[in-house]
């Protein structure tokens, strides 16, 4: 156990982060709509409670990682009477295809709805092929 910890510490220089990454906190999988148009793919995710500051969007290799924390914190002495939502964190990842331009992603967050636009590479957009007569 201690050995694993040490290895993790050496690898990243920060043991706490490494451990946090190794055992992710239980997170809610946000519900999404995903659709494709001629020039790209749009992803919409429901992430109520997440503000721009607590949103974390990352592209790691072929993966697009969407993470966010619910920022509305109840009063300290409040006790839960009922809870549908039992985590304060959202997390979901998607695998992007090669034809998508991951470096050119645009994101917008409004009223807890995240919209991500991933454009297709220009040379790979569908072209109408003319038939010569």
């Amino acid at each position: 156990m201690t050995d694993t910890k040490n290895i993790a510490t050496q690898a990243t220089g920060d043991g706490r982060n490494a451990l946090a990454n190794a055992t992710p906190t239980p997170a809610i999988r946000p519900l999404v709509d995903i659709f494709e148009t001629g020039d790209g793919i749009t992803l919409r995710a429901d992430m109520p409670g997440v503000s721009k500051e607590s949103l974390n969007l990352r592209v790691e290799g072929p993966n697009l990682l969407v993470e966010g924390t619910i920022g509305i914190v109840p009063e300290q002495q409040m006790s839960a009477l009922y809870a549908d939502v039992r985590s304060t964190m959202y997390r979901r990842s998607f695998v992007l295809g090669n034809e998508l331009e991951a470096s050119n992603i645009a994101a917008d967050l409004r009223d807890g709805v995240l919209t991500i636009r991933i454009p297709k590479r220009a040379e790979l957009r569908p072209r109408k092929i003319e038939v010569r007569t």
């Binding site: 519900l31 999404v32 709509d33 995903i34 659709f35 494709e36 148009t37 749009t42 919409r44 429901d46 992430m47 109520p48 409670g49 997440v50 503000s51 619910i70 920022g71 509305i72 109840p74 009063e75 002495q77 409040m78 006790s79 839960a80 009477l81 009922y82 809870a83 549908d84 939502v85 409004r110 009223d111 807890g112 709805v113």
Partner: protein, 147 residues
Amino acid sequence: MFGSVYSESPLLAQFRRLEQELDEVFGSATPWTGGIRSLPPGTFPAINVGGTEDQVTVYLFAPGIDAKKLDISIQQNVLTVSGEREVARDEQATYYRQERFDGEFRRVLSLPDDVDPEKVEASYRDGIVQITVRRRESAKPRQIAIR
């Protein structure tokens, strides 16, 4: 002949039995999950309710709604919230996933008996509707001085 179609794998059946037992211990005993007005899990919007000595706060996880069109009413201790979420669909697009709720919704909650229906406040931020109902003064715990 149909036995294999209807019977689950033993492992899955055991999980289901465990789920039922947990529901019996923690769930159905509360007026929230076992209440006559309770809705199945996953219903939009998700709700959390918290309470302090002074107030009860209801959180509705309702992203992307027009808060002005939200209808919130309270009668005695029964809170009703209804509204609509319109998800714009692109007719030209190819959809791969459509998990997000689209349409009208209505949720009815019985709050604790001591809430004051005259003292309700609601706000909307980052897709969460927060409704705070004060508890009645007489219902709050009071310190009784000994003479």
